[in-house]
Symmetry: C2
Subunit: 139 residues, 2 copies
DNA sequence: CCTAGTAGTTAAGTTGGTGAAAGAAAATCA
DNA sequence: TGATTTTCTTTCACCAACTTAACTACTAGG
């Protein structure tokens, strides 16, 4: 039961990402990158690890997002090998506009919890992340 | 905070699926299909909706899983347009072997909850699914 | 300081996706 | 009932986006 709900959540989030990607005119990987970049800038290598694709593929992701004006490449201040990929102002506005309704709903769900229940939910979510990570740990 | 944990869970599940797919020698879509078929049989059209790809693509998914011996096509008993795709015995054994450790961890997480806390977690998960679905509802 | 490792890109080749078209069966409806 | 529309599956031609390998540039750790 609980496991099924976790599965449902994962499926729902995938459908949601796909729909958002469609609205923004990007593909699923590009959308996932945009979601991450809305929280913090990252280089192609870091995006590659996040998306679980090669760095060659993530270079392509950044190329396409950049061509569409959603992101821009900047030099890394301290490491001259690196490139910092950041949302442009337009890109940030687009992403936050589309992400907002979902974040709002999650926030109101969170606001309905009292302190005890919030702790229970957090503990569960952290445990579930650990369950996936441990079970998926390369043997 | 809570929203970030939900995001973390979604990311962890994607990493997990990718790792399992690697172990079974299939790609992510094929793995997702196998996970679904472990719960219930489905036709190519249903799998296409689940994976959010065209039915042409899901025909390919079934072709490849079938060629590897993980699934088999059967005629639908009541609808002669349809094909029922089912795990083979070997396929089921493979999938359950690999899925087991994660399900076990989730089950023990669930077992640690008392009735009140379990209800809280279930309500939260259902709410989160609804948040994604509502926010992603085609306008 | 030199070796090993990391970041990013390009190139060539492969995988797996799409859209369109088609055939067959089921569902809807006048 | 018969006509029309919808659904299910598959095939085909095409192409988007991935992979691996190679290479440059730079950093970090004995």
């Amino acid at each position: 039961m609980t496991a099924q709900l976790v599965r449902d959540l994962v499926d729902a989030s995938a459908r949601y990402r796909h729909e958002l990607a469609r609205r923004l005119g990007v593909n699923d990987h590009e959308m996932q990158a945009l979601e991450h970049l809305a929280r913090e800038a990252a280089g192609p290598a870091e995006l590659a690890r996040l998306l679980e694709v090669s760095t060659a593929a993530s270079t392509g992701v950044v190329d396409r997002l950049s061509a569409k004006g959603h992101v821009a490449r900047h030099p890394h201040p301290a490491d001259r090998r690196r490139t910092v990929v950041e949302l442009t102002d337009d890109g940030r506005a687009d992403v936050l506009t589309h992400l907002g309704p979902m974040l709002g709903r999650l926030a109101s769900l969170d606001a309905d919890l009292d302190d005890h229940d919030r702790a229970v939910v957090h503990r569960f979510l952290r445990g579930a992340v650990e369950a996936f990570d441990e079970a998926g740990r390369p043997t």
